[in-house]
Symmetry: C2
Subunit: 155 residues, 2 copies
């Protein structure tokens, strides 16, 4: 393993431990793959890719591992109208641009959106922006009291 891989493993071990989960080869492989790609793979994509690294892993385990990573804050779940859920291993603040033609998802740097579409257009590399959608997360009036646990910076 390279130094970078060892670093990934350490990050993973720490996060898992902190959340009361165990380190396993399957979870490590899923995390390594997610962290190594800037594509935004589906569970099946991850399954197919990880098969090459790990002797045997099942699709169900990939689903379970992804869920575990998300719950540890090491991955993000992205859903769109079409097809399957996508997963993103980047944990720094950023946004996404989805191509209406090919469904590719591209990362957009930055935390706050620009003031106008033109600037957005420039920010999203090589991407011609036609629209956007903003979703806030938090707690509604009737749920303020139940607000427990952590508040994700980017949900």
């Amino acid at each position: 393993m390279t130094e970078e891989n060892r670093s990934h493993d350490e990050v993973l071990r720490e996060a898992l431990e902190e959340h009361g989960h165990r380190y396993t080869e399957q979870r490590a492989a899923v995390y390594r793959f997610l962290a190594s790609t800037d594509k935004h793979p589906t569970a099946e994509d991850v399954f197919l890719a990880v098969r090459n690294d790990v002797p045997v892993i099942s699709l169900a385990t990939v689903y379970k591992s992804l869920e575990t990573l998300v719950s540890c804050g090491l991955a993000q779940k992205l859903t769109y109208g079409e097809s399957s859920t996508r997963y993103d291993g980047r944990t720094d603040p950023h946004h996404h641009a989805r191509c209406l033609a090919c469904d590719r998802i591209v990362d957009v740097p930055g935390t706050l959106p620009s003031e106008d579409l033109e600037e957005m257009d420039r920010e999203t590399t090589q991407f011609r922006v036609t629209g956007y959608r903003l979703e806030f997360t938090g707690y509604c009036a009737s749920c303020h009291s139940e607000e427990a646990g952590t508040a994700p910076a980017l949900a």
Copy 2:
């Protein structure tokens, strides 16, 4: 029917015609319900609600009708990690806030997001904002040429 309902029907007729679809009682009932609520119902919610208005309608027809409305620009499809797809009959520019506790979805007025979370907090009525997510839509570098048809203002 009230005047408002007649107006809904006219809007619907026009939009359907424009897209080469026919006006039917089922589509009208689905559209009327969607336009009358500020909740963001699932297909099943729509099915149950519409049953009261229309003698007989099937869940499959509700799915087909919703798909038709979306394709005519009369409704929006909203997907989140959890459970089913939600539908929104509002067609003016606005955003959404989702409660992490109860999954309720609240409308947020305005087109461009505010500069800071505090202001967002004020904008989203009674909603305590902890995070947000921004999704651009458009066409990636390799798909520029294929860019055909209409570009939705808010996808």
